[in-house]
Symmetry: C2
Subunit: 104 residues, 2 copies
């Protein structure tokens, strides 16, 4: 079996066709997600952690959305600085960033 | 927090730029993945299971690749029939399809 990552983060890069409707890509998720992946690599975490673009995660109204497995924690990540906080806390130390968790 | 799915399957829809190199999309993953998502919906599993396209999962040589969380089980899924076996067994019943698991 390939690598079992300690954490696997998926970030939504979906852009909805309807220009009047919100989507993660329209809110800057492509830039945030790609920079987050690079930051993860720069820290030498490739053996432990994965950061992967995904299709729609169904959280268009609160995006940019991310989900971290195996915990299944959903995040709303408006800025790259917020993404870096998830890298510092959740991906590096296993500590959930409560202030960014998507609530019902 | 949004829905916690019993299983969340990600299927790789990545196509590498180099035409001489293998990739999941070149091996038909788009068709398999989209049909699998529709089959999941047709069975009324949307509340329990998610099926989402992803970027590269790093398994280009054995694709089309899929990964199912929270278990973190990697699959090589050459045909739609194989994908349906994962739906029948893993996503519906929690039983891993050993013959399709990617080994080292």
């Amino acid at each position: 079996m390939p690598k079992q990552f300690r954490c696997h983060l998926f970030w939504c890069g979906h852009e909805r066709d309807d220009p009047t409707k919100p989507s993660c890509a329209k809110r800057g998720s492509m830039d945030i997600g790609m920079k987050l992946k690079q930051a993860m690599r720069d820290r030498g975490l490739r053996e432990e952690v994965a950061v992967t673009k995904s299709g729609c995660l169904g959280q268009c109204s609160v995006g940019p959305a991310m989900i971290v497995y195996p915990e299944g924690v959903w995040y709303s990540v408006p800025t790259f600085e917020d993404a870096m906080e998830i890298l510092d806390s959740h991906l590096e130390k296993g500590e959930i960033v409560e202030r960014l968790v998507i609530r019902d």
